[in-house]
Amino acid sequence: MWKFIHKLASPPHFFRIAAYIIPWLVVPGLLLVGYATYAGLFLAPADYQQGDAFRIIYVHVPSAYLSMMAYMIMAVSAGIGLIWRIKLSHAVAAAAAPLGAWFTFLALATGSIWGKPMWGTWWEWGDPRLTSELIMLFLYFGYMALRGAIDDTAKADKSSAVLALVGAVNVPIIHFSVEWWSSLHQGPTLVKEGGPAMDPAMLYPLLAMILGFTFLFGALLLRRVRAEVLFRERRTRWVKEMILSGGQ
C-alpha cells in the first residue's frame, strides 16, 4: 500500500494512473448529479416557507461545500509539498485553486440568485454563508495572485504554500467571526443552520448532489493536475519518451 502511494507521487506514474481513474469518477458523478437533479427538481416536495425557490439549495450547498473542501485540499497538499518536498503535491495545490475559486463563485452566484426572490435583494450581508464565501473568494484570489507574481515555480510553490497554511488556520476563525457578526443582526439566512431536520425526500437528493459534485470535482482536479504535471515536467526524459512513443 505504501509502495503504491510512493509510486503515485512520482510524476510519470501519476500521469498515467490519473488518466485511468478519471472515468471512474466522471460516470458515478454524472449519475449522482443526474439523479439528484431529477429528484431535487421534481420529486422533492416544495418547502412550505420558500416554495419552489428552495430547490436552489441543490446547487448552492454543494458548491459552498466544495469551495471549502477545495481550499482544504489546496492547503493540505501545499503543506505536504512544503514539508516533504513532493513536487506533485505542489502541482495538486496549484490545480485546486482555480477550481475552488470557480465553485466559490458558483456558491456566491446561486446564493445571490436565491436571495432575490427570498429577500428582494441581490445581496444580503446578514447571511453568514454568503459573506464567508465572499471572504473565501478573496483568499483564493490572494493565493493565485501570489503564485502569479513569482516567476520561479519552486519559489512560487513554497511561498503560496505558506500563505495557504496560514489561510487554512484562519478559515475556521473567519467562519466563526462571520457567524457571530451576523447573529448580532438576527437577519434572514438562506439555509437554516439547524442541519438536516429536512424531510428525507428533500435530504437525499441533496446528499446525492454533494457526493456527485465531489466526484466530478475529483475528475476535474485530476485532469488539471495532469496538465500541470505535464507542463512542469515538459523538459524531462520521461515526457519526451512518452510523446515519441505515441503519447496519451
Partner: protein
Amino acid sequence: MSMGGYGAYVWTCFALAAVVFVICEWRARLRLRRVYRDIEVRIKALGDTE
C-alpha cells in the same frame, strides 16, 4: 416546469452550475492539449537540429 413563479431563478442556478462544470472541464482539456502541442513542437525542433 414553471414552479410557482420561481422557475427562472431555479433553472438559472442549475444552468449556471452546468456551465461552470463545462467551462472547467473544457479549460482543463484545452490546457492539456496545448502543453502536448508545445512539447511536440519543441521535440520536433530539437530533433531537426540534432
